[in-house]
Amino acid sequence: MKFAPLVWANLRRKKLRTLLTILSILVAFVLYGYLSAIRVAFNQGVEFAGLDRLVVRHKVSLIQPLPESYKARMEAVDGVELVALATWFGGVYQRPTNFFAQMPVEPEPFLEMFPEYRLSPEERRAWAETRTGAIVGEKLASRFGWEIGDRIPLQASIWPNKDGSDTWEFDIVGIYEGAEKGTDTTQFFFRHDYFHESRGVGSGLVGWYWLRVADPDRSAQIAARIDGMFANSSAETKTEPENAFIQGFANQVGNVGAILTGILAAVFFTILLVAGNTMAQAVRERTAELAALKAIGFTARGVLGLVLGESLLLAATGGALGLSLAWWLISRGDPTNGALPFFFFPADDLLLGVALVLFVGLAAGILPALQAGRLAIADALRR
């Protein structure tokens, strides 16, 4: 600690250069935090997917429907505990930019399948009793200011009504909470029987099925069994673990994780060059001073430590400010005003951020520090 004032004083030597470098590092870590939160928004569903849940979809594509009659046949398969169906509704609330997921489901099996969606007993009862009833996640309700009892109109883009209109109306009977931080509370679920009876096209078809298996170790065997059951039919199936299904869904946008990793790699490489250049300049300018330090008794390792300490302090200042600012910005809410299912700075990514701060500090400083440590005193004093 007794060397800390020396390290700090050296950083203040060129205040503007230090400030600009710290700002560069700060911006990089704000970007890191923000992109981490966005990556989570796309991938968190994968991490929270149930290990005992499988998804059965059309073998060709997710948008190809499956017959509703498959449900009973799958329920009869040994090892399958529960089957729940769902369909992508794709409606628009007020304007197309107000995107959120809407799905018709059967309330009982659906709520049993997803215990992480928490409803009060009164809300469960109300949904069972209200044919046009819908439940919405608390984040979605908060986004649009919805309350229980509100009537919500959606414009159908895929499923017109039997009467030819595109307008569907739903009554909000429950607002579900997430059991965990990563539970998606941006969705809108309504009753499949209402959907089935009112739709003008696609009668008898559903989007996909969720299965709950008694023994997750038998998932692969059960999946093969089910796909075998429907092989060579007009609607062949592809059965996969829920996390693979969600990942596939997310990948429709692109491999978000890889894209974000690529962006961050470019940002951090640039920051390394900026911070490394700052440290290299700082050492070059102080050749005689560093030589004097060695002359009065500082060892090569001691001088190396001073320069590395300076580099680490530079990175730590920018990194700590950047991560803190990212945390604050993310905690204020997602930039899409609630369209993202999750938006938070995961603790793991925060820890990785701290490790990155250390890495930037060490990597930026190591070459100039080695150069300083190797200074030949007599030569350097003559310069």
Partner: protein, 231 residues
């Protein structure tokens, strides 16, 4: 440092530099003895090897051949880390251009060698205050080098050199960057450190006026020492 012999004992010292294909012989079998308490001025023309000799005695550079003993210890054979520790403990260095850290105050500059010791902050502060008092800058401890005159900066440099209470002071052109008045002050201070505090002083200078303040003057020319200047 202890012993009855010379404080500095240099035998058959050679130093050669390679400049491209050419080998430059700066010191050529040089012998030198400096008794404890001496104040020796080394004079000579530019390029005669005065600073090189000082660097070798201070362990800042390695000889090509020969031996350098200070206080009875062969410093030419010491590993780098031990040599650095030895310098911190036994040698005070005074540079022509002071080599103070501009971002530190006078007291922080003087404290630098003490950071390498296990002394408490309180003890370090006490020693720094004493050193600054010895050089007559007790009232300028909070000033940065840019706020001090050249003579004052060199006094801070001398305070830094004596703060660890070394036996040997090596001064490389300590008045080379100063006007006459400031030079006289610095030479008087070095003389006082020699006479009153028992420091052995080796001073490289090309200024006869400065050299006249020393007890002994040696002239270095073509890699060899003599008591008389080269014709």
């Amino acid at each position: 440092m202890s012993g009855d012999g010379p404080l500095v004992d240099v035998r058959s010292l050679e130093k050669r530099f390679q400049r491209g294909a050419e080998e430059i012989r700066v010191l050529d079998g040089l012998d030198l003895e400096v008794p404890p308490g001496d104040f020796l001025a080394l004079m000579g023309p530019s390029g005669s090897g005065k600073s090189t000799l000082l660097n070798l005695i201070g362990g800042l550079d390695r000889p090509t051949a020969g031996r350098v003993s200070v206080g009875g210890r062969r410093i030419d054979q010491m590993p780098d880390r031990r040599l650095a520790a030895w310098r911190a403990r036994h040698v005070g260095l005074v540079f022509q251009f002071y080599n103070l850290l501009p971002v530190l105050t006078a007291e922080r500059n003087v404290e630098l060698p003490l950071l390498l010791t296990r002394l408490s902050a309180k003890e370090r502060a006490r020693r720094v205050a004493t050193a600054l008092d010895v050089v007559g800058l007790a009232d300028r401890q909070g000033h940065y080098p840019r706020q001090l005159s050249g003579g004052e900066q060199q006094r801070v440099g001398i305070a830094r050199a004596i703060v660890t209470d070394p036996t040997l002071l090596l001064c490389d052109e300590p008045t080379g960057d100063l006007d006459r008045t400031a030079s006289d002050g610095i030479l008087e201070l070095l003389g006082a450190l020699n006479r009153e505090h028992g420091k052995t002083v080796l001073m490289v200078t090309h200024d006869p006026h400065a050299a006249a303040q020393a007890r002994r003057i040696l002239h270095l020319d073509k890699g060899r020492l003599s008591t008389e200047p080269a014709p």
